[in-house]
Symmetry: C2
Subunit: 354 residues, 2 copies
DNA sequence: CTGAAAGCGCTTACAG
DNA sequence: CTGAAAGCGCTTACAG
């Protein structure tokens, strides 16, 4: 009898056809306990006689029993899994947040189902439907450096699942938990660093004008100036796409003949910063001597740029981790609660561009 | 009666508490059909009288009915979802393959459950257990530029699920489907490009010595030389980590005083190439005039490097897409089959470094 | 303290 | 062609 079990185990571990997975009934039979007892023992949800308990545990162990999450989910309505809504998986920022989500989820015994929506509201809605149908326990919605389409955020409450926003600060009225990075402080620190270097014509190259992170960083930029009783030249404040090409275009704008060039640039991401540096080079300007440059994101190519790029680092894995913790907290609390936004500071990584 | 349904729908779409999701029973009741009939209509698995069929469809539509995948999976053993095993989510290569997997999966009506294993066999085994327990329909295992831990590949068959390897060419005996990139051809094309430029001392900077992709690319490097009756200087062939720092170290090795420097470098990824370029700069060597450089991966920072980096592009999204197609094909075929490896060619993206 | 039984929401032989 | 019923693998009132 025990022998036949061993054989099964070998089949499972070997390269052969999969054995039939043992069910709770098999464990009950093998341990001489009732299905009820097995369930209670395995879930620790009721005290069970100690000898029964031990036989159940032994049998489960020996059979390699694993409860079927589908059956369990059907009854409990919980699946020990989160849906993670993301725009796409190509973004450096997004993947680092996901890494934090995954790690924290795993540590808490949860799995993560990824649902990219490609910034398409109808895809997002259908993903949300599916996540709900699969009885996810909650949803984490990750925004990247660009804002999510508003309809996507708006679709979240309708799913009827607890959710937390990562990297996106909800409007006052939204009643949503979120974990965000302090973009204002990041913008402040970056700008302040350039001011401390003695620069006084600091350009600001933001992302698309509507981008929330950019707007916050611009506030920090202004604040740093204001604190030193300086007024930035509004002509130095421009918007571009978060790409190398955007940075090159910004350089064309700001370094064109006939205008006084900036002596520093704070770029809202590293791609822009890199493109700007390239633009400087083409104009014959030296970085950092003529133009000091600070980027944002601390991209892993920063050390490889010429010169190595000084950049703001965001605590991205922590954002993911805190989202998970928040979500689990909500799951366990249930009932009424006040939405909460956790704000994490950025830090400056000084290299040679500023 | 219809009115109360409308109210429910509003609750669902609004910001209120989630309504109870309708079940197949609700659809049966609303349409006056049997549960059996509803099931057959919705699955198209048996012909049903046309008027019944239409009433069922209408009711399902109106109620916003979505079959519970958990209940369905419990019976059918299928969940319309794949598990995707990855080392981590930080790799540029991995995320691009994942994007391809996700897109193809979505188009075929499948979801994707991501399971990172951090190159830790025990994490991989437990992820595999979980994926099996959740009744995934199949598994796609994605390797990045570095080889997977062999135990991780070895654990795959034991899960008893169909699986496909992405980016990893299985050994002859492994009997596994896979979709890989033609690293040999990539190495050949890159090297050939440098040779055609007239370079004759071409260094090869690979990843860790055991790395399979590197070894294949080296074969291509040798082949390109052989075709022109050239023999590369073995001293120019070095191994480094796939990082900017690795490239810098390679530059230290190859450009040190007293040795004849290479006039070109083929680096096995863009981070290495970028680090090497930085090393050249520090030695006062011009790229590409003194040293031409070709990287690998076509990283999105390539255009921002100085000079913009010429690099090999791999058809990564296609790798993911073909994995999904292969897997679905296996699911539908079942039974006996011969393992198949699909090999996709790389292409050269010429910028200014070579 | 304990177990038989109902039931979660489906699918699918089975019997009409 | 059609539907009542069994059953997937669990959890948990319910009744002893």
């Amino acid at each position: 009898m025990p022998q036949s079990r061993v054989v099964q185990e070998q089949n499972f571990l070997g390269n052969e056809a999969p054995r039939q997975k043992p069910t709770i009934k098999d464990v009950a039979r093998a341990s001489g306990a009732s299905v009820t007892a097995v369930s209670y023992v395995l879930n620790n949800s009721r005290t069970v006689g100690v000898q029964t308990r031990e036989r159940v545990l032994a049998a489960a162990q020996e059979l390699g029993y694993r409860p079927n999450p589908l059956a369990r989910g059907l009854i409990t309505g919980r699946t020990q899994a989160f849906g993670t809504l993301v725009r796409d998986l190509q973004s450096y920022i997004t993947t680092r947040i996901i890494a934090g989500v995954e790690k924290a989820a795993r540590e808490q015994g949860y799995k993560m189902l990824l649902a990219p929506h490609n910034q398409d509201p109808s895809q997002a809605v259908s993903a949300l439907h599916d996540l709900t149908a699969r009885r996810m326990d909650g949803i984490i919605s990750i925004s990247g450096n660009s804002d999510e389409h508003p309809e996507i955020i708006a679709a979240l409450p309708a799913a009827g699942l607890p959710y937390v926003l990562a990297f996106y600060r909800p409007s006052e009225t939204a009643r949503a938990d979120s974990v965000v990075v302090d973009n204002r402080q990041g913008g402040y620190v970056a700008t302040r660093h350039l001011l401390d270097l003695g620069r006084r014509r600091i350009a600001f190259v933001g992302g698309p004008a509507a981008n929330n992170a950019s707007r916050e960083r611009l506030k920090g930029y202004r604040q740093a100036h204001a604190e030193m009783d300086l007024t930035p030249d509004e002509a130095l404040i421009v918007s571009q796409h978060f790409m190398v090409e955007g940075g090159m275009r910004a350089a064309e704008q700001l370094l064109r003949d006939g205008v006084t060039p900036p002596d520093a640039v704070f770029a809202c991401n590293d791609h822009i910063a890199a493109g700007f540096i390239r633009g400087c080079r083409e104009k014959g300007l030296r970085v950092p001597d003529d133009v000091a440059v600070v980027g944002f994101d601390d991209h892993d190519m920063c050390p490889a740029l010429d010169p190595p790029l000084t950049s703001m680092r965001m605590p991205l894995p922590q954002v993911g981790q805190l989202c998970v913790e928040r979500l689990i907290y909500r799951l366990e609390q249930g009932a009424a609660w006040e939405p909460e936004t956790i704000t994490l500071p950025c830090s400056l990584v000084i290299r040679q561009s500023a």
